[in-house]
Symmetry: D4
Subunit: 160 residues, 8 copies
Amino acid sequence: MTWSIYLSGEIHTDWREQIAAGARAAGLEVSFAAPVTHHEASDDVGVAILGQEPNKFWHDHKGAQINAIRTRTMIENADIVVVRFGEKYKQWNAAFDAGYAAALGKPIIVMHQAEHAHALKEVDAAALAVVQTPEQVVSILAYVIEGKLAGYTDRAQAAE
Amino acid sequence: MTWSIYLSGEIHTDWREQIAAGARAAGLEVSFAAPVTHHEASDDVGVAILGQEPNKFWHDHKGAQINAIRTRTMIENADIVVVRFGEKYKQWNAAFDAGYAAALGKPIIVMHQAEHAHALKEVDAAALAVVQTPEQVVSILAYVIEGKLAGYTDRAQAAE
Amino acid sequence: MTWSIYLSGEIHTDWREQIAAGARAAGLEVSFAAPVTHHEASDDVGVAILGQEPNKFWHDHKGAQINAIRTRTMIENADIVVVRFGEKYKQWNAAFDAGYAAALGKPIIVMHQAEHAHALKEVDAAALAVVQTPEQVVSILAYVIEGKLAGYTDRAQAAE
Amino acid sequence: MTWSIYLSGEIHTDWREQIAAGARAAGLEVSFAAPVTHHEASDDVGVAILGQEPNKFWHDHKGAQINAIRTRTMIENADIVVVRFGEKYKQWNAAFDAGYAAALGKPIIVMHQAEHAHALKEVDAAALAVVQTPEQVVSILAYVIEGKLAGYTDRAQAAE
Amino acid sequence: MTWSIYLSGEIHTDWREQIAAGARAAGLEVSFAAPVTHHEASDDVGVAILGQEPNKFWHDHKGAQINAIRTRTMIENADIVVVRFGEKYKQWNAAFDAGYAAALGKPIIVMHQAEHAHALKEVDAAALAVVQTPEQVVSILAYVIEGKLAGYTDRAQAAE
Amino acid sequence: MTWSIYLSGEIHTDWREQIAAGARAAGLEVSFAAPVTHHEASDDVGVAILGQEPNKFWHDHKGAQINAIRTRTMIENADIVVVRFGEKYKQWNAAFDAGYAAALGKPIIVMHQAEHAHALKEVDAAALAVVQTPEQVVSILAYVIEGKLAGYTDRAQAAE
Amino acid sequence: MTWSIYLSGEIHTDWREQIAAGARAAGLEVSFAAPVTHHEASDDVGVAILGQEPNKFWHDHKGAQINAIRTRTMIENADIVVVRFGEKYKQWNAAFDAGYAAALGKPIIVMHQAEHAHALKEVDAAALAVVQTPEQVVSILAYVIEGKLAGYTDRAQAAE
Amino acid sequence: MTWSIYLSGEIHTDWREQIAAGARAAGLEVSFAAPVTHHEASDDVGVAILGQEPNKFWHDHKGAQINAIRTRTMIENADIVVVRFGEKYKQWNAAFDAGYAAALGKPIIVMHQAEHAHALKEVDAAALAVVQTPEQVVSILAYVIEGKLAGYTDRAQAAE
């Protein structure tokens, strides 16, 4: 079984690449999916393909709906959904994705810094793990998928 | 049929009371549900009932999970979910509720001021109506539930 | 048990009233639901409540989405969905409702004149009855709900 | 992940071939499915296999039900459903498919000319994109599946 | 809570009336539903309402589909489905109902004489109780709904 | 897409082999599944593996439940369910499978001789095709899966 | 809305009565459901109604399946499931109910003494609250249903 | 079709290896999944990855939730769930898994010694087979997947 992991949320740092690199290094059988992380493309896709809109609301609406084709499909296909909240911005789409995944019964891992913990308490309450770093996500994946946990290798080896 | 309306989100203004008053004035057959809007009670409910926690994370966690018993049940029982984003705060729980409702296929009405439109575009894209005022919510409910629209009354009356 | 019947489709004749009158005369325990049948209100509800749109597409979009709050909720709550195709117009919303109801597994009764039978064959193929008149709908409801069929009354009475 | 795209609706022009060719040219990992587009075969399949019917209604019924085995299975297996309304005919089956897909929560792309916009407003309201040309469908697929949008290539390349 | 019990199957003896009388005598909070038990009405309902058919197959088809509106709705609304197989006839509709109820996860009680046990083993294997008499059904309902079991009354009384 | 076809019902003739041979000859991309057709093994599997039972009822029960592991899983995984009723026996398990498949929304093809039509009318009413021969099943599969219909080849070829 | 609470698990102390009394004292709009708590009746119900079994396994099996009619129906109808683990016995049925409720997405409250915490960690991990006393359950219900929390009454009163 | 088998429960004997070896010897097309069976790793995974907790309850909670990512995903992906109860310990997680699998409609095989039969009667009542040895599980898999039953080979061979 190849596990499908959807990486939702913040798009301005390379946390997705770090997780992917870590998973590769650990030899995990995973495939990653993500929203389109090109910010301008994501904002403009609606009008670029479907035609310009004088009203910014509809400009955004057309783009957000096309993005939804991608994101909702990927969340529904995911075995695990990781949602990262960054330092800045409202990031309501990340919280929306978490709620969407929660209602579908997907296991959720939330990643954020400690200062956001209170504001994110409802999101965290729906998660099966709350982490701060990509390394922790990789460690969880290694454990969940391969049963490997650093420092606990003896019997795991014996069991194979 | 009595329609169940869940009013999610911002808890510092009286928008819920305005909607309820408007619905009452319009004679609509609706019942409203909402999260616990007493901010301190909502924050402390976990430790107040289940015992103190030295670590703020678990303090929040216990409270958020008890609140989830109420909010998820009410969202699942709702015919329509209204989500209001206020002027301040992160309000990630509101966006989470919107995502949760969307995945359940609930009709969603989002209420927010124009300046949040871009940041909320993914949430709005999942809504069947985006409004700015409680009056608009009442007007939508009157139309959806009773088929009444101000200024279009002639034939509607005849149809009854 | 009160049966909920959703009456979808054509809005320019009084077929809904005929069915309701027939059901009343037969003493059936039913409640009827329907889309808003005031044509202008239905077309304009979006802009009337949410604000004018210079582009007719968005004018229609806003209205159709508010109508969807009503129609999808009512179809999901219905025990039986009746869909009538009239003599005129495209009536794609009626066919859309039929498809929506079919995917939800709702029993469907389709009503249309013989000349539309070939064009409606896919819709009819998803129905449990295809009729031409409101009287036939009432007869089906009387049979389905009360077990009554004109001319077959002896044993039915005995069974009560 | 190979995306499954169901192409519903009008069968008298080569729009399906245009989309397939465009997707091939773009190197997209997609598979396409469609109803049987041989009009006479589609009309006659029921009686050809199951035996003649003197009554045209049952002739149509048997054929439409066999076609339903194909179309409903393919819609249920699709990641995205594209529904095209052509210039002519009632095309109620296309609207039926759109309703069916909507109730299943499938992302829907509707394709039609501007003059049908008002009559199709309920169908469009259930779509995540409304387009006029096969090229637009291909552009959406390229964006949704590969994250590619013409003119926004720099960062997308860097992200790979 | 009023429990809904669907009584499927054999229609030539008064087992339904016996169960209803027993439940009434026991003061159980139940409502019973059943297919139309007037054999001729059930056979002819399709052509009586929708028009005659020269071909017996379509005569039966139209009737069976109208009956399905009633039976499927009632099975879906039932808390418990009781299926009785009589001494005679093929009774494939009873087995069909049992399979239908099983796939919906409904608790099933099957009633039949011992000589049919081998032929009904797949149906019995999907049941939570296999009985021979209406009295046994009433006893099960009294236990399941009220917690009452003849001869075990002391503590049950004390617990109230 | 490889279509999964479950072949339920009668186990004393070679109709499954005929369908499989026909599908192979037609080059269809299908896989077939079936209950265990070794009659004695099917009857005895429970006690053979789990231990003897003096009471025939439990002998049957243990066997029927192990068979259910196979049959329910295969029906749930099937794209199409074919149910054949033979000349003899009660065959309640076939009707049970049909009801099970119907409640899951699976497309159903029923195969039986004309003399059983009236007794099977409820089962037939839930089917999308009613046939008499394995050849007809193969023809339906060829049409549904490949879009091929004997005698209607011209345009179908052109479309490829 | 009347909330339905299912009280699963230990049957040898009066914790259910304590919760019911507390809820009554608090004026909560709730209804409680529970398994049959008469131990002998629960053990013997199968053979008492369906006939004696020489083999204890089938004695238990028949009883457990009849009890399942009650318990599964009540869990599926519940808004909240409370599961209590007592001091003694294996109580595997309590853990089974918790798993059953968890898969259905029901909010779960687990009640047990501290010494069982480690052995129950998987069950607790699926709960939204872990408590030790009936009073805590009542407090949670009062908060979840009425929004009332002892010591936080000022604003809650004002909000009404 | 490769069947997915989830092996839940007791982790101190080599029953999983015995089943896997038996299945390999029988040439069955199966894949096995299991919880992490390294006891210490399973207990400590939460704090090892997410950070130490002074309170044992949260130590356990974090670990149990990470394990739940693995176990719930694997149960949901399984075609068959085998649950083994060993001689010792509370094993509430095994019963929880059984309840979880039951609510999802998964076929369940329970393995335990005779002395636990009464205490496990509710779990057994939800199973399609109750066994004592790994060999019996392999025999069931061989029958369910390949239709092979020792001693009944003649006709099965002929059927291939």
